[in-house]
Amino acid sequence: MTRDQAFYSALSALNKPAYVPGENKRLYDKDTSPLKNRMARENKIVESLEKAVELSGLQNGMTISFHHHFRDGDHIVNMVVDTLARMGFRDLRLAPSSLSDVHAPLIQHIKNGVISHIETSGCRGALAKAVSQGLMDQPMIFRSHGGRAAAIEEDEIHIDVAFLGASSCDPFGNANGYSREGEEKSMCGSLGYARVDAQYADNVIVLTDNIVGYPNVPFGISQRLVDYIVCVDDVGDASKIMTGATRFSTNPHDLMIAEATSNVIVHSGYFYDGFSLQTGSGGASLSVTRFLREAMIEKNIHASFALGGITGAMVKLLEEGLVSRLLDVQSFDLDAALSLKNNRFHQQIDANYYANPYRRGAAVNQLDVVVLSALEVDTNFNVNVLTGSDGIIRGAVGGHPDTAAGAALAIVVCPLMRGRMPSVRDHVNTIVTPGDTVDVLVTDQGIAVNPKRPEVAERLEKAHLKVTPIEELARRAERITGKPDPLPFGDKIVGVCTYRDGSVLDLIRNIT
């Protein structure tokens, strides 16, 4: 038998076709032009946003999503929805990871029927006020970061088209929240929330003002997840996306609370070499870092990681060697964004990694301590971070319930009163984080410990940190401010606040 005959007879037993040079269909014709020519011709960049929308097959009634890493400097949501309105779309379901003051123009689109549903983590400014007053027919659905990620993963939110802004993107879709070439116009650091949308959306359109060379690695969003790329003038206003390092507060109330919180942490039983930590991004909850750092240096205690919501304060701890790793789902300031870009031990993580409620390994479950701020706390330790004391939507659920549930010790900080409004009271306007998961409340006039954690109260008392029953704090506030009259809510449900698993925690009614 010749070589060929032997080959073909063995092959018939395998029942597989033979490769015939010149005859078999190639997957594609070999392109022999140099890379730079190739890239210019064949890539995912589409000439306009309208074209990208057409290609995506978006229909009325479908769900579109956005991330909020550009915060109050975001241009993407307004730009895209304006365009969709012009193209005649209607009844769209908006599912951004959160909304900000800058998204007020959505009010008009809602009135015109372009947007009929919104599910988000938060809402602020004029849009929030309008929603509170009853703008929308369907209530706004609020989810935590972990809750949203799980809902997307479980297909409860089915994203048809994700519109994701990026600070830099190469022609095949490797995208980042910073840039390693060209003009870095709009740095945002981590793209943690966007990554979930990119992974699960049917169509992913990346919008960027900075096309860079291939490959844009390390990448925040992999090219494999991106369908189309649109080049725009500005993805956002850099000055409103983020500023330099977040400054520590100089407000004496905040500093008092921060120092007391640091003392609580030190004596809580969760302050040991290798502990893990998450703090808030402003006010007292950020300033805790300043005092805790001194204790860490003094007692030679290092943190194995810090999670967040990462700010320059945490980056400083990383650089000083007081913290070994940073897990970053959202960068809050330029220092954090730069560190994410340059420091290999500052890791970008997505919202599922961060806080998926169904995954035991989620980062929030590895936390010893989390420090969270609050607008209101009630005597059952339920926390409100979503509606103001005037009943109007003005904040975001964020990672609040996720971290409170995951951390061994959840500490909530707020002043006893803000002006004449008591922050510690019998009932909060909206329950966002259930009191079951909140362990300690630190105010500028006393510390309260959830009765479910008597061992923590004991440790604090032993360290001569006075613990006050939370009812007493509420009474103290009321004695000073007087008892507030109940708010004149209406009957229309304008918001539904859900817990991490989708169950309903509270309802928000309309108010003028």
């Binding site: 004391s389 002006g419 409004m421 000073i480 401010t481 507030p484 009259d485």
Partner: protein, 109 residues
Amino acid sequence: MEEKHSEVPRTMKITMPASAGTMESGDIMIEIEPGEQREVEVVLKSSVANEFGKQIVATIRRAVEEFGLEYAVINAVDKGALDCTIRARVAAACQRATASDGFDWGKRA
């Protein structure tokens, strides 16, 4: 100086419109002027109108009446002042409006 000047006469008359207080957080700006009717009319603008509006108006009215004024119109802009601050500002405005520094320091607050 007279002994009596720290006691309040029965009914007082507003000789000129007056004001006390600032627009700072935690304060209340009180403007008082003579009224046509025999009542204390209070117009309130407050950052906490829904929750404390009724209480604030009542506190202002009571403080004006205790000072001994019966014909008065009060315009108040509140930035979250506590009751004790409201009473102090009303008393100051009343004193200025009646050109007296009378006040019953011995009264139970």
